[in-house]
Amino acid sequence: MADAFLAALRVGADGALAAALGFVLLRASALRRIAAPAAVAVAAGLAVGVAAALRAQARGLAPADFLPALQRGDALFALALAALALLARGRSADALAIGWRRPVAEVAGLAIGLLVLAPEGVLLAEHLSDLALLGGAAAPVWGAAFAGLAVAGALGAGAAALWLRAGAARHLTPAAVLSLLLALELAGIGTSAVGAHVLPRLVTAAISRAIHDSVHLLFVVLQVPDHAYLEDWAYQLILRFLEPAVHAAVGAAVVAAPILAAWRAFVRRPAPAIAEGTHAPARRLERARFLRETRLGSIAFAVAAALSIAAIWSARAGSEDLYDPLPEPVVDDGAGKVVVPLGGPLAGQDDRMRKFVYSVPGGRAVTFFTVRRPDGSRAVALDLCEICQPKGYAQLGAGYVFCKYCKTPIPVTTVGQPGGCNPIPVPGAEVSGSTLLVPRDALVSAWTRAMERK
């Protein structure tokens, strides 16, 4: 019950913070008519997420079926927040309520409200269902969760009231609130409560892939030979660009860029015009008030930037050791299936990568690996990709496989998808008892096709 209460409290607090920020901004502006609806939309988004999860459960769908889509959706939502913060930079909420901008701003405000907690709602419902299953009773678990949500809601309402009283609305701009919402998404107060906080890692992995693709592109365009033919210093220089810490630094800079651009626009906004004939002391007071608002308003941007950078930096992949198991020999059953025993003394921990080698008549050795995804499903892929030389992969922490050639971390969630740096998938693998059966022809033909392109 305590688990359910705390999980719901954290998910609720995530939404309550977002709702309070939005409410304070909108309540004191010309967009005040959507202040309450936007806050309600946050709660509605949570309810929609919970309802969708329960409906999916009733239809027999497992969390694994929709978790990748949820995570992609969450990442795109964060990207949209960054884009909106950039678009709204330098504008007050009142400025967004003029002319054609008003309906757009109102729809965007409500949509953001709905989307803030919808994925967390799905994840929370799954989490609570698991807890109910383990505890043998659903009512206490859901009751505790409602209590947690109620406490979070009360905290959010209290925070909103306090901020309004303190006049925080004068110092908040739409761009600042959007930046804070982006930072909250990256910090993942709610998603980490239900063990599904992957956004910073997704962002870092995306940056890694972009840098890696750029280096590859440069190699291809300039016809640079492989590292075995380069002086060591030259290749070490190239490897600097492929280090996870560099990727995390670039990722932090990229994520902070729209926030900093919005902050810059806020600081450089024009001072309000002072009426002709105003006395010098009044002018100075007006000027001081403007500077104070700028300083206080900057706090929101600074917090958002610091939180985002910290979230990305803490998710950098390079801090974990590589796990590179020796391939275990496997044979086929004579009926077209390669038999991979999943149990036995070499099995190791269940979430660890395992490599296997299948000897094809003719002396060729096909190496492939299996790794468990966060959703519990098992991915089977060749130990090589379409692009790099076949140096293979190792496991990096629990969430990544790591290309040993180009030093690129690949999220485990994308293993099994074809293309680019992903290890080449082997379709059709199925678990039968404690044995994994891999279609021999699919395995060998995937390997042969890939090697012919090398």
């Binding site: 992609r72 990442a75 795109l76 990207l79 960054a82 884009a83 950039l86 997704l202 962002v203 995306a206 892939r209 972009a210 693709d213 750029s214 590859h216 592109l217 365009v221 300039l222 016809q223 640079v224 030979p225 492989d226 590292h227 075995a228 033919y229 380069l230 002086e231 060591d232 030259a234 094809v360 008549p361 003719g362 002396g363 060729r364 050795a365 190496t367 790099c388 030389q389 076949p390 140096k391 293979g392 050639y405 994308t414 998808q417 293309g419 680019g420 740096c421 992903n422 090398k454």
Partner: protein, 366 residues
Amino acid sequence: MRVGVAMRPPLATWSSRLAGLAARLLIAFAFYAAALELGGSIGLVGAVGSPIGLALLGASGLLFLGAAVCAGLAAGPRGLRAARALVLSGLGLSVAALPASLAFRTGGTVAVGEGQTLEPDALQGLPALRFGSVALAPRGPHVLSKTVEIEAEPEGGEPVRIGLFPPTAVAGWRLSVFRFGYAVAVGWAQRSPAPLVDGYVMLGTFPHTAEEAALVTWTPEPNVMMGAGTFPPKLEDLLTPPRSGAHLFLRLEEATIGGKRRDLRDPDAYRWLVDGRLEGAVFHVEALQGKEKLFEGRLRAGESATYPGGAITLGPDVLLWVDLLGTRDPWLAVLGAGLALLAGGVALRSVLAVVGLVRRQAARRT
């Protein structure tokens, strides 16, 4: 004195507006690429090569170029105008040339042996090329740690050397060595006086079915990256002349490389292969008719062997062949020019800023 660009409207204004719009398009491209990556695992190359990516980058490049023209024609100090025009034109050319290079780049590979003449148009527009010998060395120039290069003489042109990097320009193509391999002269007759094979055999280039491959024992391939692009040179191959039912398996097993005798069956043999040419090579040879093995033994290069129903002769030298990678990319030069202009503009602007600073300090002192 304040250093700044004092330009007369409207050209100066137009330059700023166009540059601002171009920058916005670049930011839009960044968000588009990020959305593709986060939403669909489509990488940067895919984003650049997509129609929307091409349109955004192309339009941004053109707008930067327009801004550069306006900046160059606007009023103001000549140096500052030039610096701004250089930076903007460099940005424009670079941003526009990158997707154009990806979209319009053509490429191909062609395998050539030592002493071979390549027919014209082996790659479209490439003239006939006569090739000399391949040079291998465990050292290389500039950033290269090894040398793999071949002499080539275009028809009616000056001889050139095509190596690993940088590519050599020949008739609009940029040629570089992609990988290399071994070739040995083989004379082989079996069950008939007519030769089944009489010529150079390039090891590692012959296709065979799984059934044919199962007739002999292959050396496990080293799981390493090497070769000028790909793998170590192949040391063995199985020849199956069409409609003969005969098979000849050749494997390089031993040779002197760079003055040292090497066992090429060693799993780490790939490390020595770029040390030099093979001398005193010894081959493992198997001759089969269907599944029946008629001959199995070791032959030195230059030796012959006869067996019931057949005879094999190996040439005295092991020659080299290379796969040449050719690309034709007119936009690469544009990209290079853009980067050069950009660097020039930044350098000029920096110099002007320093000069301005020095002058201001001198003015303060006086």
